[in-house]
């Protein structure tokens, strides 16, 4: 999935194993002034941090990995410790029911969410003071 978008847009990393949802997120984020980067398995920490995401969208129930494990590994890595993360999941195993590793902000958005909720969540994490212009 290539995303030939201007590099000055905020990068949003996407870890999502349902192809249709990933493609839709790439499409909508691109149309709303973000630079979406679809990350493929095995979701290595080096690969995630290499794209320098401003925010990472992280699905929890992945076929080839656990989103919780990815979160733990990111927080153990200096390059991923402070990365803002939006966890999207339909499962009931939600962040409020477990202790999260220390690090950057984590926001939970249950599936199925509304796309405007996700866009607002990304903007909030990128710039809590509201300086990122809406798309």
């Amino acid at each position: 999935m290539s995303q030939p978008l201007p590099i000055d847009r905020p990068v949003v990393g996407i870890i999502e194993d349902q192809q249709a949802i990933a493609q839709m997120l790439v499409e909508v984020l691109g149309a709303n002034r973000f630079q979406p980067v679809f990350l493929e398995p095995p979701y290595s920490i080096d690969a995630i941090t290499a794209v320098r995401p401003g925010v990472l969208l992280l699905d929890i129930m992945l076929n080839q990995a656990s989103g919780w494990d990815i979160l733990e590994q990111l927080r153990e890595d200096p390059a991923g410790r402070d990365l803002p993360i939006i966890i999207t999941s339909a499962v009931y195993d939600r962040p409020g029911l477990r202790s999260l590793p220390p690090g950057g902000p984590v926001v939970f958005i249950p599936k199925p969410f509304e796309i405007l909720t996700l866009l607002a969540g990304i903007r909030d994490l990128l710039d809590p003071k509201g300086a990122v212009a809406p798309g």
Partner: protein, 174 residues
């Protein structure tokens, strides 16, 4: 006393037009919400490789036809949008049968379409102060979704019905 002129130019009276313009402007978000809801249905989760184009099927033209249908006061006078709804929904039902999506899931997809349009309708009524218009627009939406559901289910079933020689049909839209 008759009015001296009919208020045909008044945008405040063109509620359907206002709503249709709002729906068209926010279609990207409504259809994205639909994708998010439908992709999480078990039948679609079972095939994570299904791409966006196939998942969407004929929903975009169906959505456009539904918006047009909401503009029509009475389908007795103009059922062209209704015809387009039936055609798009029929193609959608046919495509779903071909990729082995159960008919129950197909009907749930149309229920989800109703949900995202209803939510858009509420959003428009909230921001534009149009709550009194919701009842008539909701009726038109219900009629449009009913038309779509019947056409989609009919097409899906027609494709599975055995013909006189015992073979199963290959769909109704090709």
């Amino acid at each position: 006393m008759l009015p001296r002129s009919l208020p045909v130019d008044s945008p405040r009276l063109d509620l359907e037009g206002e709503f249709a313009a709002y729906l068209t402007a926010t279609a990207q978000f409504a259809l994205s919400d639909w994708v998010l809801r439908v992709a999480n249905l078990p039948a679609f989760r079972a095939d994570p490789e299904l791409d966006l184009e196939r998942l969407r099927g004929e929903i975009a033209p169906l959505f456009e036809a539904i918006v047009d249908a909401i503009l029509v006061h009475d389908p007795v006078y103009d059922d062209e949008p209704g015809t387009r709804i039936a055609e798009a929904a029929g193609r959608h039902g046919d495509q779903r049968r071909k990729i082995d999506i159960p008919i129950g899931t197909l009907l749930t997809e149309l229920h989800e379409l109703r949900q995202v349009i209803t939510r858009a309708m509420s959003g428009w009524a909230e921001t534009a102060g149009r709550h009194p218009a919701l009842a008539s627009l909701t009726l038109r939406l219900e009629r449009a979704i009913d038309t779509a559901s019947i056409a989609a289910a009919t097409s899906w079933v027609a494709g599975t019905a055995p013909s006189r020689d015992g073979r199963h049909g290959s769909g109704t839209t090709e």
